[in-house]
C-alpha cells in the first residue's frame, strides 16, 4: 500500500497491510504535526504533492526496502492538504521476521521520503507562513539527482 491521500490516515489499515504470518515485528512511524518548532508556534500545516510522481517514489522506496530486506512488507501513506496540530502527515509500517530489520527499514523509509518524494510542507504561524525546504542544505544531491538506492 503506497498512497497519497487527502483524508485523515487510518493507522490500523496501514498496519493491517503489512501483517504477515512470518513477521515477528511490525514497526510503524507516524509523523505528526507538532505545535512548537524552535520555540515558534505553528497554527497548522499545508502539504502539497506532485501526486503521480510522489506515489511512484513511495513505491520505489518500498522496492528499495524489499531489496535490502527480502522478507519485509512495507506500507506508506502520506496525507496532503491542511493538517492540524497532532494530525498524522505520514504513516509508515514495516513488518519483518526479526525486529532489528523492521526498525532499520522503517527509519530508512522516512529518511528517503524526506530526500526524494516530491511533497512540500508550508508552516503557518500567527505572523506569517513559509514553505519549508532544506533551508540548511543538509541534503546534497549529486548531479541534481537524489542518490539511488543505498548499496
Amino acid at each position: 500500500m503506497f498512497q497519497i491521500v487527502k483524508e485523515p490516515i487510518d493507522v490500523s489499515r496501514v498496519i493491517e497491510a503489512v501483517v504477515d504470518r512470518n513477521a515477528g515485528a511490525i514497526v510503524t512511524f507516524i509523523g505528526t504535526v507538532r505545535e512548537l518548532t524552535k520555540g515558534k508556534k505553528t497554527l497548522y500545516l499545508e502539504y502539497e504533492a506532485y501526486e503521480s510522481m510522489a506515489q511512484k517514489k513511495l513505491e520505489q522506496i518500498g522496492a528499495e526496502i524489499k531489496q535490502q530486506f527480502p522478507n519485509a512488507k512495507v506500507a506508506i501513506v502520506h496525507r496532503i492538504g491542511r493538517l492540524e496540530i497532532t494530525d498524522a502527515a505520514v504513516v509508515i509500517a514495516v513488518s519483518t521476521p526479526h525486529r532489528a530489520d523492521a526498525y532499520e527499514a522503517n527509519r530508512y523509509a522516512i529518511e528517503r521520503i524526506k530526500e526524494m518524494v516530491p511533497i512540500w510542507k508550508k508552516e503557518h504561524w500567527e505572523d506569517g507562513s513559509l514553505w519549508i525546504g532544506n533551508q540548511q542544505e543538509t541534503i546534497s544531491y549529486e548531479k541534481g539527482i537524489p542518490k539511488e538506492m543505498k548499496s
Binding site: 504533492a49 503521480s52 502527515a89 518524494v117 512540500w120 510542507k121 514553505w131 525546504g133
Partner: protein, 77 residues
C-alpha cells in the same frame, strides 16, 4: 512542446501551476538558465528537475512532449 509544472513556493511566486514552451532540443541545465533569465524565475540553484516523473541530471536532454517538473527542496514526512 514542453510542459513545465510548478509546485509549492514556485507555484505561488509565479501564480501558476504550469506553462508550456515551444519545443527545441535543450538540456536540463539550459532550461534552468533559460527559465531564470527569460521568465524572471527566482534562482533555481536549489531546485531539482524531473522529466516525466523521474529526477533528471543537468545534462539530460528534454524531448518534445516531455513533462518537466521543477522540484523545490522537498519537505515531506
Amino acid at each position: 512542446m514542453i510542459r513545465i509544472l510548478f509546485f509549492a513556493q514556485l507555484k505561488e511566486q509565479l501564480n501558476k501551476k504550469e506553462m508550456t514552451l515551444p519545443y527545441q532540443e535543450i538540456t536540463v541545465k539550459q532550461l534552468r538558465e533559460r527559465l531564470e533569465k527569460e521568465y524572471s524565475l527566482p534562482a533555481l540553484s536549489s531546485v531539482l528537475f524531473a522529466i516525466n516523473e523521474e529526477f533528471a541530471a543537468e545534462d539530460d536532454i528534454i524531448r518534445d512532449g516531455d513533462v518537466v517538473a521543477l522540484i523545490p527542496p522537498m519537505s515531506g514526512g
